[in-house]
Point group: C2
Chain length 766, copies 2
């Protein structure tokens, strides 16, 4: 999994604060209210789901997880390929139509990595994760690569060290105010605050010659809890690996943007690839970072830059001087996707796709195999039901992706290869990417929010025996009650209201990206978390033993995840009318629009205030002459911003959504089943709704990303930016572009509205 | 100095976010607008102040500071007495009428202190502060006592250890939710979060048999910056001493509440004293705390409990087991106040009092001597001007207090001894208690806010050459602009508005308390800070060398403080009409009243929400069964709260204040000087205004505290509670008491109003 930050943060910031549960306030969970089904079809669907649940077995999950994570599983490793063959065999055994599809990708692996402090003292960095007493997996060295950041440059560099906090834009502004320039220097940053790949990218942009990224114990170590093996958390030599490719420009093989990296695909030269960095990058442990940081002089780092190492953090540069070497094998490697299908009966050309990646940075037990084996378990039962005569109306496609960790390679290349067919047929992509104990987390297209809520209300939480929806609601309400962020409080309020729990918008970080943001296929990302201990994200310590001790000792959340995702798949595949509720989406858009107006107002006020402070010399007068900090750079003036076209377009959409809801309700209330042909027409229309949110021209500077509502941020890496064309232009003070994209986005939303109006007309004909 | 928390926090939370500066927006700083003066008298006052400034010398401050802090200065030490004699001689040399007044007080000093970890491993705590290379003062051992907390009990106890975070009420609620009971245990708490004395008091109330208080490096150590001697911050064996007497009940000698502890005063038996604890208490360094905390088991402490030691913080109890011994000498000791006077000419029975304590925990260079020597420098110049014929209209009284550190002993006993005379004569008390580089901080009676602003606008900041008012305004505006708390943002807004900078309300923590809160004498507390490094608060490392390196290397802020306080004293002493503006006070009261209404609304909403969550089992459902946290205890129901009497009273006061301002302006605008007799009558009236804010019955449970607007909080120790009768009752859910004190406080404010209406009538007669 590629995450914008460490695992424990994700579980809070993403899985947990992301929502996904159902409205039970009015007890509307009876079969009669199942979205997309009539009273009759809902009743049989409920029976089907009960039968599905009954056949799931935790023992499968345990044994498959143990065997699949018994050896290193990175791209190119023998065991990753062996697992592909195992998965293929399983799908076939379960009765699916399955095959392996291969691609040839550029994937660098380290041949030599080296790091030394050479002044004012000497220290040779360990750069490996030693065995942990009591965990036999950690004794394995065969096929384990040294920790590295994929797609950094090769290099042998020596320079003074600078500490740049999280290495994000504000951090460089702060360094500059302290008179510190990173040109010709080596930058050390800590994980967290934003996506990993931005750290070396921004270091490179600012002229640094190398970049180190370490896990501070504050975010990922003893500050969180006892370290492995006493507790689950990252020990002093634990390292977070991860890709630093510029995936916010495009994911997938760096040499084949927009096309599948099949054997004979036309490839860019490596030097022309847009997503590979030039400077060497290394991830290191806090054990290795400590002597480096201790050797730094220069100003004391600001409060918010300080972690939990027992020292005063300095910014540098120097006197610490560092020598680092990264040399990689830049050969093409083969990746193996396993694709399996169950053909639909009445609407075989509507595809419900569900996937999980299979490659890990090392053993990959939690990330990604814990949810991959849940996927296999779903496949087992779906296959068994198929064998017994169950026929979904739509086609079900399961994918076991390779090469997600380095850059969503397996999913992206498959999507690019089959783009045309997928654009015609795919109506949903459901992703999982690791799971643990705790609370349901779900993100995705907001037209699916009500479906997620209904499903969550029908699945029982194994620890409390209430529905996972009810447990999540309790979690959100109590978390917000007991303090916490403004966001937590807003979520507590939403949860307490009794209505649907909101699902979060998706940025990136996993295989949903090519489906959702390149092709415009409605998508979901689902998992459990919040209770299992973290601390081994992208580490060789993400082992079966660690998972079984801390993450899901009874493997019951693996089963619960299968229940949730299995239901999502079956309801989407079996529904009379695709179970989407578009008014939820337009309500969200209205909310995002409010945020944009606030952003404009806040930016204007902050700009005016900054100018006033600069004009009155306030920064100079407030500075400590013995520890001087220069005034900030003057922000550009802010002209009028015209968001009106987008306001209008979203207002009109809201009205059209109400009309659609009313028309649909009329049909439903009448107990009327539309004629098959008309129903199919309706399904085809709404199955393509999400695609109409894309613009073929894509987003500015990254045409691969075509979705105009959901995108990963250029400067947040994987954190989502909604209405990104406008929002990112405003944030970057590109005023003309903001005005332009208010128009572009409005036009896209008008197209979306035109389509729902066709659907409404179709319903009103009934 | 007694502070509610560590020095660095104070500088941010109190001196710096406390304000004190002047409105220059409309350039109203010409002599003609000097509050309390006519155009003529203002012009000569300005000349006087220029002459005052010209005679101040940094070299005096440096040499007096060096000699006064050359040996330990705690109560009972030879050097504390020698300093009293030195100060007496100086005052006499300067031409003041000076004498030493002694009191006999109960002041325990340690005979034996001992601390050991006895299970699961063994560790003998160091319990002393070793010498620091390069700082000769730290080699001195003669008369240095081991670190201790004055007024804890004697005891030799052994028990399991429990970590209780800051040791405040919420922390015990959290322990209880984790099933941890401190009865029969020894509690270890960290400094910060609230006043020191509450920690052992609450530990004792909850049944603990001993209490340790350590300085976590997060609040007071390497997290803040380089430690001494590399930087200024607290090193691993640095200890914060301090009193733990229950001074929120009453300060001063525990055996003589309400009366002066003269030789023959009637004394309580020690066992009957209300302010002495029963259990032993010891302050320890983070060096000594580390092995103890490392040995703790039990649940992982919540996020907000974790400091910056390199470990996972556990709550306990055990397996860590601790043995501690405290044995003290409980003899009576003599304290020495030095009192000096310059008699007033026309109004000798209006006293302007200014004081600073002289005793320190060890050498006491910054705390308290740095501002004590500024006071001496003021006295030198005032004396010189007096010799040359200057005669203040009012009498000036300077006090060098002993025994502040253990419990405001010197000031309280002097105030109690002379209560009758002071009640008749004192119109102002100005306190200082240590100073450093940076920004002006001022707190006090809000009728003095405009005076403070005018003075601050007339004094030049030595680092920037703008007024200290302008520099503080720049500091507040930039701090609020660059993020920070909601309070910082509100202050930035106030600062940007161009009007007077607000001064903060006073709680306790220094010698203003007996003057302001026992007798109702309008008071101010003033100092500079925010730039000098902290880290030696109440430590043997608060030495001359440390101060000269980090706090005020040129001793120029000592001079600047003398300029500020000298002006305050001279303007109060010389003014035609006492320079107070009561409408500032009524505006503040309106603000506090708004806070009380918000408190009622918030408490009601939180109570209802907690009940809903409990009723729906949300806490149970959200809890992790493998790391269980019990639901919170159900809060009491909340009845109607009636604040109307107080609302009405404050509204009426605001109108009366407007009438007074209008009447005063009319007189001033007319350039009219009132007849002497009438002016004296007016001065007598407004000089007694603050006293009318007291109620002879005092606050509930602590009759010594008689001020109904400003008090230290019973549960914040020294943090202020404004309108305390109502506010503390609401916070403690004593609903009837809240209603009752809304009435009591309203009546007091009505009395205050009656007095200002008399003053208005007097003005209108003119």
């Amino acid at each position: 999994m590629i995450r914008m930050t460490t695992k424990p943060l994700l579980l809070v910031a993403c899985l947990v604060t992301a929502l996904g549960a159902a409205s039970t306030a009015n007890g509307d969970q009876s079969a009669g209210n199942m979205l997309g089904f009539s009273a009759n079809t809902a009743a049989s669907q409920q029976k089907l789901e009960e039968s599905f649940d009954a056949q799931l077995q935790a023992s499968d999950i345990k044994s498959w997880l143990k065997s699949m994570s018994s050896e290193p599983n990175q791209v190119g490793s023998p065991h990753d390929k062996a697992n592909a063959e195992f998965v293929l065999a399983k799908f076939k055994e379960f009765g699916w139509d399955a095959r392996i599809e291969t691609f040839s990708v550029l994937y660098p692996t380290p041949k030599k990595v080296q790091l030394q402090l050479i002044a004012p003292t000497h220290y040779d960095a360990v750069l490996r994760e030693p065995p942990i007493p009591g965990d036999p997996s950690t004794d394995i060295t065969k096929n384990v690569l040294p920790p590295y950041n994929a797609y950094g440059g090769d290099g042998d560099v020596t320079g003074e060290l600078v500490y740049a906090n999280y290495g994000l834009p504000d951090d460089y502004a702060e360094l500059a105010r302290h008179g510190i320039d990173v040109r010709g220097k080596i930058v050390i940053t800590r994980y967290g605050g934003g996506w990993r790949g931005l750290k070396p990218e921004l270091a490179q942009e600012h002229g640094a010659i190398g970049c180190l990224i370490y896990s501070d114990p504050h975010e990922d170590g003893y500050f969180k809890g006892d370290v492995y093996p006493k507790g689950s958390w990252r020990p002093d030599q634990g390292v977070q690996r991860g890709s630093v490719a510029k995936m916010q420009v495009h994911p997938g093989d760096p040499l084949t943007p927009n096309i599948g990296s099949t054997k004979d695909a036309k490839r860019l030269a490596i030097k022309d690839a847009k997503t590979i960095l030039k400077i060497p990058v290394l991830p290191i442990s806090y054990g290795d970072a400590t002597p480096l940081l201790e050797a730094l002089g220069g100003p004391i780092a600001p409060d918010s830059w300080r972690g939990s190492l027992p020292m005063a953090y300095h910014m540098g540069s120097g006197p610490a001087k560092v020598h680092m070497v990264v040399e990689s094998d830049w050969d093409q490697k083969t990746i193996y996707d396993v694709i399996a299908k169950l053909k639909g009966s009445t609407m075989p050309d509507q595809w419900i796709i569900r996937g999980n990646h299979r490659d890990g940075w090392v053993f990959g037990t939690e990330d990604p195999l814990s949810s991959h084996v849940a996927m296999l378990e779903e496949a087992k039962v779906l296959g068994a039901m198929y064998k017994k005569g169950w026929r979904p109306q739509r086609t079900i496609v399961y994918g076991s992706w390779d090469g997600e960790e380095p850059g969503l390679l397996g999913s992206t290349e498959w999507v690019e290869t089959h783009a045309k067919e997928l654009s015609q047929k795919a109506v949903l992509y459901i992703n999982t990417d690791g799971t643990s104990r705790g609370f349901l987390g779900a993100g995705g297209s907001h037209s699916l929010q009500h479906l997620v809520n209904q499903v969550a209300a029908d699945v029982t939480d194994p620890e409390t025996n209430v529905s996972v929806e009810k447990r999540l609601r309790a979690h959100l309400m109590t978390t917000g009650h007991e303090g916490g962020s403004a966001e937590a409080k807003a979520q507590a309020k939403a949860a307490a209201s009794g209505g649907d729990l909101p699902i979060e918008a998706l940025g990136s970080g996993s295989d949903f990206t090519p489906f959702l943001q390149h092709l415009g296929i409605a998508s979901l990302n689902v998992g459990f978390g919040g209770e299992g201990g973290g601390g081994v994200y992208h580490s060789a310590y993400d082992t079966f033993d660690h998972y079984a001790r801390f993450s899901d000792p009874k493997f019951e959340y693996g089963v619960t995840l299968a229940k949730v995702v299995g239901r999502l798949v079956m309801r989407m595949a079996d529904a009379d009318v695709l179970p989407m509720r578009f008014s939820d989406f337009s309500a969200k858009l209205t909310e995002y629009m409010g945020e944009l107006h606030q952003l404009v107002a806040k930016t204007r006020a902050a700009t005016e205030q900054q100018h006033r402070l600069l004009d009155s010399d306030a920064f100079k007068l407030a500075a400590d002459p013995l520890d001087p900090v220069a005034p900030p750079v003057r922000e550009s003036d802010m002209p009028q911003i015209d968001l009106k076209p987008l306001d209008e377009s979203i207002k009109k959409l809201a009205r059209s959504m109400q009309a659609y809801d009313a028309a649909y309700k009329k049909v439903q209330d009448a107990g009327y089943r539309m004629p098959k042909g008309q129903e199919r027409q309706l399904n085809e229309l709404i199955g393509r709704m999400e695609a109409s949110l894309t613009d073929p021209a894509g987003l500015p500077g990254r045409t691969w990303f075509k979705h105009m509502v959901y995108a990963p941020g250029m400067l947040t890496g994987y954190g989502v930016k909604t209405l990104p064309g406008v929002r990112e232009a405003l944030e970057a003070r590109r005023w003309n572009e903001a005005n332009e994209y208010a128009g572009v986005t409005a036009k896209v939303i008008d197209g979306y509205r035109a389509q729902i109006e066709k659907a409404t007309a179709l319903l009103n004909k009934s």
